[in-house]
């Protein structure tokens, strides 16, 4: 399933030579969309990080700790594997 806002593959996330992208893909944007267009701030408040950190996670610029990853999955009521996945080599 591909919905608007799905985080693209790593190669598409990288916007230039100075950019950094993790190999962990996520579907947070899609899940926020499905959760009545939940805002980044609302999700960030629930998991205890700043909106900028959530933005970095969503954009593939930062791999969260397991604890934060589990908290995100719990907010959406999904197993971890349905929120995050490791990009293929």
């Amino acid at each position: 399933m591909t919905l608007p806002g799905d985080v693209p593959h790593r190669a598409e996330v990288v916007s230039g030579p100075a950019s950094y992208a993790t190999r962990v893909r996520n579907h947070i944007r899609t899940l926020r969309f499905l959760a009545d267009e939940m805002t980044q701030q609302a999700l960030a408040d629930q998991i205890g990080v700043s909106r900028q950190t959530l933005n970095a996670i969503e954009g593939g610029k930062y791999s969260p700790s397991l604890e934060v990853a589990f908290k995100i999955a719990r907010v959406f009521g999904k197993p971890l594997g349905e929120v995050f996945e490791l990009a293929a080599d």
Partner: protein, 139 residues
């Protein structure tokens, strides 16, 4: 994306460091050019530079707190801090090693002190710059 409070704080720290260092460098540079080689006269200059640094730091943070809600640092801020520290502390080590070497060669104390001060300031400046890079580029 607007910077977080932590990122704004790093900008403020970098600006205050540059202002403090610039003031100290200008005054102490003039003193050294006039042949003052005793460390004691540099102490009040250094204290003044530190006071200016702290004032700029305080004013900057007050302004940042007024323009946006201060937030607690989170795991990304801590990771960025550790990584920046890890990639910049070598400069301080180089300065300390240089200072010890200079003492062995009986270089004047004022030069050794300034080498140590410079390595401390530059190491801190590099750390703050790296933090800003990691905030923007990702980590």
């Amino acid at each position: 994306m607007l910077p977080s409070f932590e990122e704004k704080s790093v900008w403020i720290q970098l600006i205050s460091l540059v202002v403090g260092l610039a003031l100290y460098s200008i005054v102490s540079g003039a003193m050294m050019a006039n042949g003052i080689t005793e460390p004691a006269p540099y102490v009040p200059v250094f204290i003044s530079a530190v006071i200016v640094l702290v004032v700029v730091l305080g004013l900057g943070h007050a302004l940042a707190a007024l323009t946006g809600k201060p937030e607690r640092s989170d795991e990304r801020d801590r990771l960025i801090g550790w990584r920046a520290e890890s990639n910049s502390s070598w400069l301080l080590a180089v300065g300390v090693f240089g200072g010890i070497t200079a003492l062995l060669f009986k270089v004047e104390a004022v030069w050794v002190a300034h080498l140590l001060l410079a390595s401390m300031f530059v190491s801190d400046g590099l750390k703050l710059t790296l933090k800003l890079v990691y905030y923007r580029r990702g980590v």
